[in-house]
């Protein structure tokens, strides 16, 4: 990838390292690996590190650590290896989240399936068996972007916004899924509903998912989902990935 990784200042106290200008699996993996490496370095003056789809963000104190010094440190770290060939971070989980597809729980399933060129039954079979990965958490607390679905799911967002989808809504567009952690408007199509609460502020682990985790959305009945609503985890199970 020519021109990448590239550094860019973000306001007064941020530095962004971009590994690409489109979503790709190696660039996403590179961003996650760099974040782990930056946290391991423990540089004085770096206050926080986070990733987006294909970039790593460092928040720092510009009066303690000049931007030029941080850029030099990051540059040296970038030179030390091929980030696009780095493995995924340690300590990842596979989370299975029971999902009701279609009907009132996924009012745009048929529309999304048509856009992807498959019938509804095939769509549910594909989506409920897909192993997706959390490419980034963002926009709202604990809310994952998940990739990447097969090429025929490269469907555009709607031209207008759905005024409000509920918490737990599973939506699809551009080969990605998003699982909503709070009710909000969206331009993505709602295909299903889950009962998981991704942000549990009073739990020992407030965030159910982290970047790099893998997620499946097995299909369950509406009756089963109603039972699962009783728990914050909504029937989601976790297993540690090697």
């Amino acid at each position: 990838m020519t021109g990448f990784p590239a550094l860019a200042a973000v306001g007064l106290s941020g530095l962004l390292v971009r590994f690409g200008d489109t979503l790709s699996e190696p660039a996403n993996r590179a961003a996650l690996a760099l974040r782990a490496a930056v946290e391991a370095e423990g540089w004085d003056g770096v206050e926080e590190c986070a990733t987006s789809l294909v970039s790593t963000f460092l928040r720092f104190d510009p009066l303690r650590l000049p931007l030029e010094t941080l850029e030099a440190q990051v540059h040296t770290l970038l030179q030390s290896r091929d980030w696009y060939a780095e493995p995924l971070p340690q300590g990842r989980s596979l989370i299975r989240i029971p999902t009701v597809y279609g009907g009132a729980h996924g009012p745009q399933l048929e529309e999304a399936a048509a856009a992807a060129g498959v019938d509804t039954q095939t769509a549910v079979a594909e989506l409920s068996s897909a192993r997706t990965r959390v490419t980034t958490i963002g926009f709202a607390p604990g809310q994952p972007y998940l990739g990447t679905l097969p090429e025929h799911w490269n469907i555009p967002r709607q031209t207008s916004l759905t005024p409000n989808v509920p918490r737990g809504a599973l939506v699809v567009a551009i080969r990605q899924l998003v699982l909503f952690s709070n009710p909000m408007p969206t331009g993505w199509r709602q295909i299903g509903l889950t009962a998981v609460q991704l942000f549990q502020p009073d739990a020992p682990e407030p965030f159910v998912l982290k970047p790099g985790d893998e997620v499946e959305f097995p299909a369950v009945s509406a009756e089963r989902l109603a039972e699962l609503q009783a728990s914050q985890m909504g029937g989601a199970t976790r297993e540690t990935l090697p």
Partner: protein, 335 residues
């Protein structure tokens, strides 16, 4: 008796706020905290206590507050109509309140966010390292009628102090640095952006404020999609309608709208406090100038305590003037 403050009939935007919850960007949670951090620091300086202690933020309108024990308070940020048992109270000052007295805080007179800081601070157990409400994240909520907030012990007793706040309540010029997509905007658009006078829209909250340009907007031509990237407080998004939207403490953590610039941290209190209808302009500054501004801002924050002074009562502020014995021991001349 348990120390507490009881809130009656608060306005719709009254919340508990502190300095926020840094460190959760990777999990999609923005820092949050007081919309006007400077006002929080001013309140803490007036009470000579830690800036991180939670206070009450009031957007546009306060409410009625009662205290169960003798309590020190400080009023900072946007000045609001305020009385204690019907007698006017000065803003940007600290006061003593006795149990049974009613502190009534009404509508805002300038700016947007007023702050009621309390001696000892509000003693609510922190969640994820902070006690403030993060409304966008569903963490905490606005205070409602009858809310009873426990207070921490107050080791100090001094009141009657005041300070002169930094002017920030009526718009003006905001200093900005380039943002991630500044170069995506054509040079003529960027130039027009810096000589346009914007009006702060009625739409604004703790997530951000919308500005309205007088004529043409600043939207990019269609088809230029931006890959979702990190957002920082102060970023100026240009959504499809071309009207700038400045992101504040409860902003989302990532976004795909192009950003034309970023307001420097020292000017964020001004963004939060600019009321609807007031005018704002933007001025690109060099990184060096922004660093100087940041140094100055931090010095100002740490120096607030030394700027606090005893409040000399101005006779014009004393509606109860007649109750004072102004001259005693004078003779009538008829002895």
């Amino acid at each position: 008796m348990t120390r507490s403050v009881i809130v009656h009939k608060p306005g719709p935007g009254v919340t508990m706020q502190d300095t926020g919850r840094p460190g959760f960007l990777a999990y999609g949670l923005s820092r949050g905290g007081a919309a006007d951090r400077l006002a929080l620091a001013e309140g803490a300086a007036l009470l000579r206590q830690d800036e991180a202690l939670p206070a009450i933020e009031m957007a546009g309108y306060g409410g009625t507050f009662a205290f169960t024990t003798p309590t020190r308070i400080a009023l900072t940020g946007a000045p609001m109509r305020c009385t204690l048992d019907g007698e006017p109270l000065a803003w940007n000052a600290s006061h003593a309140v006795a149990p049974g007295q009613l502190l009534e805080i009404g509508g805002v007179q300038a700016g947007v966010y007023g702050y009621l800081s309390i001696g000892g601070g509000i003693a609510v157990p922190p969640r994820l390292g902070g006690s403030g409400a993060h409304l966008a994240a569903g963490l905490g909520a606005v205070l409602t009628d009858g809310a009873n907030l426990p207070l921490a012990p107050d080791s100090k007793s001094e009141t009657g102090l005041c300070l002169t706040p930094t002017s920030r309540l009526d718009g003006g010029t905001l200093r900005i640095l380039p943002s991630l997509q500044t170069d995506v905007f054509p040079p003529e658009t960027r130039e027009r952006f810096t000589y346009t006078e914007f009006t702060r829209d009625a739409r604004g909250n703790r997530m951000g404020v919308r500005l309205v340009p007088p004529e043409e907007g600043f939207g990019l031509t269609e088809g230029q999609t931006i890959l979702s990237e990190v957002i920082v407080t102060g970023d100026i998004q240009i959504p499809g309608d071309g009207a700038p939207y400045i992101l504040l403490s409860e902003c989302q953590t990532t976004g795909g709208y192009p950003r034309i610039g970023t307001v420097i941290p020292a000017d964020l209190p001004k963004v939060a406090q600019t009321p609807p209808g007031a005018k704002l302009r933007f001025e690109f500054v060099t990184r060096e100038a922004a660093l100087q501004a940041e140094t100055h801002y931090r010095k100002h924050l740490t120096g607030l305590r030394s700027q606090v002074r005893p409040r000399l009562r101005d006779p014009y502020d004393m509606p109860d003037l007649g109750a004072y014995t102004l001259i005693s021991g004078a003779i009538t001349g008829e002895e």
